[in-house]
Symmetry: C2
Subunit: 148 residues, 2 copies
């Protein structure tokens, strides 16, 4: 599977979030070419500020491996992580991070903050994979919300 | 109750973490002078990187209030929040943050990072409350671990 294939799975998670009335962001964790974690936004339904896609996917992956350290794992997420998730990703020691769309408002990696700059423990980074599809999910969601 | 009294309750949470073999950090959330959230580190036992004291306390407070937004609440935590928790605190919209000891290695507020600088949504900040007691918990814990 390619980066785009994995991102497509993250997009599927984001779509499920939208169906549940949540901001559509999705994530998957890959280990040795297997999906071991999936997550999507659940904040509104769970009343939980930590219910972001990345954290949910990292939690599921940790349970699957039986350890909190996710060295050797790759995380794919449709949107640039916020500060909380950028920090959670560091805590998890995940080896690489690939995100789709940038987040000008809250993005902590290349947009609003640059918290991995000079950070030894930061994951390998790539972004812009399926960027348009990832961004369009959000545009559509917020446009529908405004029209209500 | 004073700031020091609330911090003392956070210290009690930190002590429970140490008893469970976890890095001793504790937190409480106060709303209208009532404790509505308590939390302590649970990472090792729960295999969950998001199991930091602040996030646990914020989650409990949100359940108590029936909303994820914690406007009007105050968070007390024994140690300067890491990036993940600094971000979670922002997400929660908690009104004020008081921490005890600084964290030179991972502190995201005044030590390693300064993520609230220029941030409109940042909570009111105070620190250094019961600083020595908060720091000593950690020194003692790590010193015991080294001696094992």
């Amino acid at each position: 599977m390619t980066e785009t294939d994995y991102m497509q799975l993250a997009i599927e998670e984001a779509k499920k979030a939208a169906e549940a009335g949540e901001v559509p962001v999705g994530a998957v964790v890959v280990y040795r070419d297997k999906i071991i974690g999936k997550g999507r936004n659940t904040r509104e339904n769970d009343l939980d500020i930590s219910g972001h896609a990345e954290i949910k996917a990292l939690q599921m992956a940790a349970k699957a491996l039986g350890r909190w350290s996710l060295e050797g794992c790759r995380l794919y997420v449709t949107l640039e992580p916020c500060l909380m998730c950028a920090g959670a990703i560091l805590q998890s020691r995940v080896s690489s991070l690939c995100f789709g769309a940038k987040d000008a408002k809250e993005g902590a990696i290349v947009s609003k903050h640059h918290v991995y700059d000079g950070e030894k423990g930061a994951p390998l980074l790539s972004f812009g994979v399926a960027e348009e599809a990832c961004a369009e999910l959000l545009t559509t969601f917020f446009s529908k919300q405004r029209n209500r």
